[in-house]
Amino acid sequence: MEIQLLWWHWMVLGMLLMLAEIFVPSFTIFWFGLAGLVVAVLLWLAPELAISWQVVIWALASIGFTIAWFRFFKPTMTDRTKAGLSREAVVGEIGQVIRDPQDGRRGVVRFSLPLLGDDEWEFVTTEELKVGDRVVVVDVSGNTLVVAKKGN
């Protein structure tokens, strides 16, 4: 079982794995490919490295890249769209109370821009609210919003 792995074998493997990412979009194979390139560079510098060590280095480099990605790059990737995310699009929006909740009747809040296709929503709250108060959406419960008074 004398397989002679040359540095360019790792190079090719690494590139193939990175290419496979295009067809299998899971974002896991990419790091294995990147690790393959690292092993290729090491092997080019030190051609005497044992095969088992090459494999171990490849595996460790993969772990390293994965962790590094989530540690350093993920935090910089902020969500740029709320398309299709109803809850995220609604929570945090600020509206004005146009009917205050009384006697078990729900209040109505109006937004300057329509939320989910409607600019007036019924709401429930635990706070005392008057008509004209500005409120911030905390949660969605069916077709009713849960709001809190917006502190100025």
Partner: protein, 284 residues
């Protein structure tokens, strides 16, 4: 040799572990993650990491609007008419974990809910109201359903009544009623026309006879005046009148002789006497 086997197995372990731990959630979806069988968290779109072997993605839920077709059903209105109604509902899953854990099959649940609500709302309406007030039905439907689905983390965006039709037998009866109504109107219109025509005709006749009568009176007055004038003109001079009459008489006889069927003409021998006879009393 053992070193190589261990290294390869280690590499496989790493590969499997990383692919289990990294989850790429496409936009428009949310993944519900369970940690050892219990709900843990919900993954949003983008790159996510979960603890391999411990966390599993239990449900993949779409956050896009879902179109729910509400199948047609027979609904009985307040005045006992069977109508067939169907609708279409647009729902959006706002809180995926509530939707997957709160109800077994949310599409079926909401479909059934819309069906029963539609039936109860239409059941309180008369046929004509039900057919003409779709918007009202829509609003009531939305209000009655939204509270029920609140626990499931689902928002009902709109519900539209697609078709609301009387049943075939009812439709036939309604058509017949409409046809009969039109027929009735046609008959009335026709009778009305006939009546008007008769009245107008009678009026025409009445007017005509009135004028005829007037004409006769005028004619009689004219004759009276003419005779008076002639009588005045004649006074004692009988001869010129007799002469004129004789001339006319001969002309009339001439006219008779010229007519195609008058072959025999009898001329009186004493023309002045004949004329005098015709004139009668006028001669004085």
């Amino acid at each position: 040799m053992e070193g190589l086997i261990i290294a390869v197995i280690f590499a496989i372990l790493v590969l499997v572990t990383i692919s289990l731990g990294v989850r790429l959630v496409p936009q428009g979806y949310k993944y519900v993650v369970q940690r050892l069988g219990k709900y843990h968290k919900t993954l949003g779109p983008g790159l996510n990491i979960i603890i391999p072997y411990v966390d599993t993605v239990a449900y993949k839920v779409t956050t896009k609007d879902i179109v729910l077709d509400i199948p047609s059903q027979d609904v009985i209105t307040k005045d006992n008419v069977v109508i067939i109604a169907n609708a279409v509902a647009y729902i959006n899953i706002v809180t995926p974990e509530k939707a997957v854990y709160g109800v077994e099959n949310y599409t079926l649940a909401i479909q059934t809910l819309v069906q029963t609500s539609l039936r109860s709302i239409v059941g309180e309406m008369e046929l004509d109201d039900a057919l003409s007030s779709r918007d009202q039905i829509k609003a009531k439907l939305k209000a009655s359903i939204s509270d029920d689905i609140a626990d499931w983390g689902i928002t009902l965006k709109t519900v539209e009544i697609q078709d609301i039709n009387p049943s075939p037998t009812m439709q036939k009866a309604m058509e017949e009623q409409a046809a009969a109504e039109r027929l009735r109107r046609a008959t009335v219109t026709k009778a009305d026309g006939e009546k008007q025509a008769a009245i107008l005709q009678a009026e025409g006749r009445f007017e005509a006879s009135k004028r005829d009568a007037q004409a006769k009176i005028v004619l009689a007055q004219a004759s009276q005046q003419a005779i008076e004038k002639v009588a005045q003109a004649i006074q004692e001079k009988e001869l010129p009148v007799v002469y004129l009459l004789g001339e006319k008489y001969i002309e009339a006889v001439k006219g008779l002789s010229e007519s195609p069927n008058g072959k025999t003409i009898l001329l009186p021998a004493d023309i002045p006497a004949a004329v005098r006879g015709i004139m009668g009393a006028m001669g004085k």
